[in-house]
């Protein structure tokens, strides 16, 4: 919580430079550099197939990557794995949610705290209460099977489950995907709430307007390379961003 005490000092949670990922001979990402500070929402926007999901999968260790990844001041070596990064407080909410469909909402949430439980922290019940404060809907649905939830509730459960790990860096992959506009609004309101908890958030989105409205800083990813970056307020008014990603209100 140091960063919140002295807001002048920005603690870098994640710093990536010249990150490249390839599927066989095809380069999916090329020479990426980005930075996320504590208590900050950083968004990466871009069209379909730009490599947004690939970026997050590479960061959490699901995909092998080249380049330099410094997480919490530590250079990630070749031996990095999903399990190690989860232990260090990095959590991914994947695009497909990846819930445990035939288990109750409650059990899904509990499993979110599995790694903390294994490391000896037995505070999962208090953490569940905190998550229920953020997502009261999950409280109502706690006995229900995850597979029977609506799209919005699934996204809430996926985010709640990730929060159970008390992450320091939360990677969100397209939280708005397939959701109704009203639900998207609610989800994004929650994302701004999370920021107040001191979590660093890297938000990957196709819904550029919504993402830039909640984020502090933004990057634009196009065909595997970062083409633009800047404070999100600036990007919202950048003509290049408006032209390609925001569109003019009346045009469509």
């Amino acid at each position: 919580m140091n960063a919140l005490d002295n807001p002048g000092e920005k603690v870098v949670v994640l710093e990536v430079s010249s990150l490249s990922v390839s599927y066989g001979k095809v380069d999916a990402l090329h020479g990426l550099a980005l930075k996320v500070h504590r208590g900050e929402i950083v968004t990466v926007i871009g069209p379909n197939g730009a490599g947004k999901t690939t970026l997050l999968c590479a960061l959490i260790g699901l995909l092998p990557a080249r380049g330099e990844i410094v997480y919490l001041g530590e250079r990630q070596g070749s031996g990095r794995s999903v399990e190690m990064l989860v232990r260090q407080g990095m959590t991914l909410v994947p695009e497909k949610r990846e819930l445990f469909a035939e288990m109750s909402v409650w059990d899904n949430l509990l499993l979110g705290a599995f790694d903390r439980y294994r490391a000896g922290h037995r505070d999962q019940l208090e953490t569940i209460d905190e998550v229920f404060d953020i997502f009261p809907r999950l409280m109502e649905r706690r006995e229900q099977m995850a597979g029977t939830l609506s799209g919005g509730e699934r996204q809430m459960l996926a985010m709640g489950r990730a929060l159970m790990a008390k992450p320091r860096l939360l990677l969100l992959d397209e939280p708005s995907l397939g959701l109704a506009p009203l639900v998207i609004k609610e989800i994004f309101r929650t994302i701004t709430q999370l920021k107040k908890l001191g979590v660093a958030i890297l938000l990957v989105e196709q819904n550029a307007r919504a993402a830039l409205q909640v984020a502090d800083y933004g990057y634009v990813l196009e065909t595997g390379e970062l083409s633009l970056e800047g404070p999100s307020r600036q990007l919202l008014t950048d003509p290049r961003v408006i032209e390609s990603y925001l569109g003019l209100g009346g045009r469509h």
């Binding site: 999903v82 990846e98 469909a101 509990l110 599995f114 790694d115 439980y117």
Partner: protein
């Protein structure tokens, strides 16, 4: 066939069926979590029974050598990995767990005469000797190819099975063993005699099934195993590694196998290769459950036990044929019934 024979056969079938049910559950568990069709499941039955028998005969069971050898191998692999990653602090732990504990066990066995110990202690010792082989075999044979296809994993299973059969012959010899009955109590129901041992097998199996159920429903580790079976990626993202889940499920499978072997060894003579056939019958049960449903697998295994016992009365020469032919109508029914639903 009169009622008395029918009851006797039913009793026999239920006893064997209970054992098959335990093995079927282990097979479903291992397949659901790791996608491994665990053919060597039966070897744990034989190893459990024969280890107990040699402890009771006052011999040093051969399984201790296997434990030492696998432990040393794993310590060498893990140790060199830790060196390469410069995690030197892990090395003493690796050595202690993989070499120290088996050595301690070996020393203890050499120092005391296991034959004089009370039966529960002997059973515990046998379990201590056989159960660690499960996770060790996972570490050595399956973990390096954990991401491979089901077919590759099946081929590895066949290799492990053949190897263990050979090792079993080397350690325990070609003669079979039968351990003394746990209990001499018997009950008379009408004209039929109900053996205490038979009752013990059924009760112990039911208790074990309840314990497994509670483990999967109530504990976080049990839930983590179920989660891995449902969604591997989701589980990994929660920090439940495939390795942890694999180790855990192989430990459970080895425990179930060894325990089953100890339970039936007073009823049937067990040879070094008897486990395979027993495991296969559990497998038929698991197939009836589609390698997915625990209750159907258990029920199927009991059906296998009953079918086996009644067919041994009517057509004893065709006993095995009848049991294994059961797979054909089951597969036919399953493939006709299966809806091909695209996963998300």
């Amino acid at each position: 066939m009169n009622l008395q024979i029918a009851l006797l056969l039913g009793q026999d079938g239920l006893t064997n069926g209970a054992i098959y049910a335990l093995l079927a559950l282990a097979l479903v568990l291992v397949f659901a979590v790791t996608r491994v069709i665990f053919i060597p499941q039966g070897e744990f039955v034989a190893f459990g029974a024969l280890t107990l028998a040699s402890l009771q005969a006052g011999k040093l069971p051969g399984t201790i050598w296997l434990l030492l050898a696998l432990g040393t191998l794993i310590a060498a692999i893990e140790g060199s990995l830790a060196m390469r990653r410069r995690q030197f602090r892990r090395i003493p732990v690796i050595l202690l767990v993989n070499c120290g504990v088996p050595l301690l066990l070996a020393g203890g066995l050499a120092a005391i005469s296991a034959a004089t110990l009370p039966l529960p202690v002997q059973v515990l010792l046998a379990l201590l000797l056989v159960v660690p082989l499960g996770p060790m075999i996972y570490r050595l044979a399956y973990q390096p190819v954990a991401e491979a296809s089901v077919l590759v994993l099946l081929i590895v299973s066949v290799a492990v099975h053949v190897t263990l059969i050979g090792i079993g012959l080397l350690f325990f010899g070609a003669e079979g063993s039968r351990t003394p009955s746990f209990t001499d109590v018997s009950f008379e129901i009408g004209d039929t005699l109900l053996q205490g041992q038979t009752l013990l097998v059924v009760v112990a199996s039911v208790v074990l099934i309840i314990v497994l159920y509670l483990f999967f429903e109530r504990t976080l580790y049990g839930k983590a195993l179920r989660a891995t079976a449902m969604n591997r990626t989701g589980a990994r993202l929660m920090g439940i590694s495939g390795t942890l889940a694999g180790m855990l499920s192989f430990t459970l499978a080895a425990s179930i196998g060894a325990f089953s072997g100890i339970l039936i060894s007073p009823i049937t003579t067990i040879y070094y290769d008897s486990g395979f056939l027993i495991g296969l019958k559990g497998f038929v049960g698991a197939i009836i459950g589609g390698l997915a449903s625990y209750p159907v697998a258990a029920a199927g295994a009991i059906l296998v036990g009953l079918l086996e016992s009644y067919s041994s009365f009517w057509a004893s020469a065709f006993k095995e044929v009848i049991v294994f032919t059961l797979i054909i109508p089951v597969l036919l029914w399953r493939s006709l019934k299966a809806r091909h639903v695209e996963e998300e």
